[in-house]
């Protein structure tokens, strides 16, 4: 009797200590949710490629070898904010996801932003453009990695105004992203002495732009600004060529253009377009090496777009933060704070930093689409025209309306 009670006492004590031991040692599990448009007009620039980028980031981090367990799930928000937030909620509540990545489509991105903040997760956005993510709607849980509307307006927009394009007509996608891009670009145009003479808002995913292009043509504006993305941009550019817009003396400003868009338009039609990206696969040996590894695993052997590159780089930085914390605290704000405290450095975007408002700062590049005769391979599309340092490309902190900055 006595021996048994001693034994049970010892056993209980041992169990208690064991449990305490597990709790004090840091948890080394991470769950990543890649939330993207998997089948619609933004699927090629993000979509399955973003999930692959997340997968490669996890592998390249080397954490699994150190005993970490990393899981990746992916979801399709179908460009609908309600579907996006529903997936995000389920991921946090049921599946215990720690970090949501990608999320193209500004409307969905802003909605998911609120959910991540409420659930204290981590949000590394690469696909969405709206500068509101790190401005009026900034959050302690959000890092906005790849690009934003302020940057697009202050690089492509500014360069075109300075080159003499002082009157503009906008073709704007009628949702959060288009509105933000038009707003930010308009500010740059007026600040540089130009004028917006008109514009038209078109529904997202419009197959036919001829009516809108005719209005743009009639406006006699020097520049027709395309504040849209993906399939909408490719259709506008292709149909603008058909209506002889560029031949008639007006210039198209593709404010946002991705590698996959150029592929879809074809160099014949796209040649000469100026635009801005923060990543191109053919920049240097490191980007080429990564892109080669990436393309080998993609279905159509496509190199990464800047959005997919941003998913990779953002996650690599996230893993570094987790490692230096010694484990996953499952506390989003804490991890993001750590990410902001470390300078960013990776083979795709180079050196940079994450500002207190969540904006990642790195170089932006002005490109021009090559002529068909200049292109040497199936994805050889861009000519580098200029480099804009990060501190000039992105919103200066003094202009930021982010509440996190007021302390």
């Amino acid at each position: 009797m006595k021996t048994r009670s001693i034994a049970s006492f010892l056993l209980t004590t041992a169990l208690t200590f064991a449990a305490a031991g597990v709790a004090s040692a840091q948890d080394k599990t991470v769950k990543i949710g890649a939330l993207s448009d998997q089948s619609g007009l933004y699927a090629d620039l993000g979509g399955p490629g973003s999930t692959l980028a997340a997968q490669m980031a996890a592998e390249d981090s080397g954490l699994t070898a150190k005993g970490w367990k990393i899981d990746i799930v992916s979801g399709d928000h179908q460009n609908k904010p309600d579907i996006g937030t529903a997936i995000a909620r389920q991921w946090f509540d049921v599946d215990k996801v720690d970090v949501i990545v990608d999320v193209p489509n500004s409307g969905v991105a802003l909605a998911v932003n609120n959910v991540v903040k409420e659930k204290n997760g981590v949000y590394i956005n690469s696909g969405a453009a709206t500068s509101d993510l790190t401005n009026a709607q900034c959050s302690p849980n959000t890092v906005h990695w790849t690009y934003d509307t302020y940057m697009l307006a202050h690089t492509t927009g500014q360069a075109l105004v300075k080159a003499g394009g002082d009157t503009w007509f906008f073709l704007t996608a009628d949702y959060a992203f288009g509105a933000a891009l038009e707003r930010d670009t308009t500010a740059v145009i007026t600040a540089n002495g130009g004028k917006v003479v008109g514009g038209v808002k078109h529904p997202l995913n419009t197959p036919d732009f001829s009516s809108f292009l005719l209005q743009a043509q009639a406006s006699k504006a020097k520049i027709i600004g395309l504040a849209n993305a993906g399939g909408d941009t490719t259709n506008s550019i292709k149909q603008a060529a058909e209506f002889g817009i560029v031949k008639g003396g007006q210039k198209l400003a593709a404010l946002l253009l991705f590698l996959t868009d150029v592929k879809a338009i074809g160099l014949e039609t796209a040649q000469g377009l100026n635009f801005t990206e923060t990543f191109y696969w053919d920049m240097n040996d490191q980007t080429r090496a990564f892109s080669k590894r990436f393309a080998e695993r993609m279905k159509n052997n496509a190199p990464p777009t800047m959005v997919q590159a941003g998913v990779y780089a953002g996650l690599r930085h996230y893993f570094k933060a987790l490692e230096s914390l010694g484990g996953n605290p499952h506390d989003g704000a804490k991890v993001v704070e750590k990410m902001k405290s470390m300078p960013t450095q990776d083979e795709l975007f180079g050196k940079g930093e994450i500002q207190p408002n969540g904006r990642t700062i790195h170089n932006a590049y002005l490109f021009e689409v090559k002529k068909p005769s200049e292109s040497k391979g199936p994805w050889d599309f861009y000519k580098l025209v200029g480099t804009v340092p990060g501190d000039q490309a992105f919103t200066p902190l003094s202009e930021s309306k982010c509440a996190l900055l007021k302390k």
């Binding site: 619609g40 808002k201 995913n205 001829s210 009516s211 005719l214 043509q217 259709n235 209506f243 879809a264």
Partner: protein, 287 residues
């Protein structure tokens, strides 16, 4: 005012696609009693076949206008023989669900292989460029689309409403047993009719390839509007769908001019209004 004329003309161009597609739907519904939800997917296949003909076989646009509808039409006839024919006599709903499923599968397969952003298809050299009409710049290709589809639409209407073959066809839908008693092979006629409707969809696909991207979802984006056209025009009415197709293109064009935000919904607003006032559609017969 100039801009208004331009919008009218652009509307007419889009209307050509609506007319061609809704015509095929009307033929299929009128003769087979099937609500062919796969129509958009078959339209997309037409564009893709044209792309492959050019890319892999070096076969140009003009041949594609002939070959692509035949290839897709044969695919359609296989569908009819292997699946749709078993639904004869059943409620419309079954046909709709089956063809909807087929559409999802076909689109899914294409999307899996070709992504979503699409493939470029150039305008044929003979139709490049444009002319200045004074009030607008009209790309030659778009003018060609209007004229070509008008001719095809009227030819189809003539074939079905005015020829002996068309008379057999219409009789066969009214009373198949009786027509069969005259020694006419009704099932074969039905199969060929489905092939014709599908061929019309594929033809519209080839026509649209140089204007729009050749994309797996190009049909899915369009099909709902086309269904609205068919409903407004009156299910199964050939002339009704042709006229409504062109008319709705024009109305949509005008909306894009006056209130662009509503351009995606105006067709459905019209559909609701027409159905409330005249449930059989503008030219439809009561069931």
């Amino acid at each position: 005012m100039q801009a208004l004329y331009a919008q009218l003309l652009v509307g007419l161009i889009n209307g050509s696609f609506y007319a061609l597609l809704s015509l095929g739907l009307a033929v299929i519904f009128g003769m087979l009693n099937i609500i062919n939800f796969a129509h958009g997917a078959l339209y997309m296949m037409g564009a893709f076949v044209a792309y492959f003909l050019l890319d892999l076989g070096g076969i140009n646009y003009w041949w594609a206008l002939l070959i692509a509808p035949i290839i897709v039409g044969i695919f359609g006839m296989i569908l009819e023989r292997t699946m749709l024919q078993w639904l004869t006599g059943l409620d419309h709903l079954y046909g709709l669900l089956l063809t909807f499923g087929i559409a999802l599968i076909v689109q899914g397969v294409f999307q899996n292989y070709f992504g979503s952003s699409g493939l470029p298809y150039a305008i044929p050299d003979q139709l490049k460029g444009g002319m200045n009409l004074g009030f607008m710049f009209l790309p030659v290709y778009r003018g060609w689309v209007v004229i070509f589809s008008l001719v095809v639409c009227l030819a189809t209407w003539f074939l079905i409403e005015k020829t002996r073959l068309g008379a057999y066809l219409r009789a066969a839908t009214e009373n198949p047993t009786l027509v069969r008693a005259f020694g006419i092979n009704v099932p074969r006629m039905i199969t060929l009719t489905y092939g014709l409707g599908v061929g019309l969809a594929a033809l519209a696909g080839v026509l649209s390839a140089p204007i729009n991207q050749v994309r797996p979802l190009m049909g899915a984006d369009l099909i709902i509007v086309v269904f609205a056209v068919v409903v407004i025009g009156g299910m199964g009415s050939i002339m009704g769908s042709i006229i409504t197709g062109f008319a709705l293109g024009v109305i949509e064009g005008l909306t894009k001019y006056f209130y662009p935000e509503a351009s995606n919904t105006v067709v459905f607003v019209l559909m609701v209004l027409v159905l409330l006032v005249k449930p059989t559609g503008l030219t439809g017969r009561a069931a």
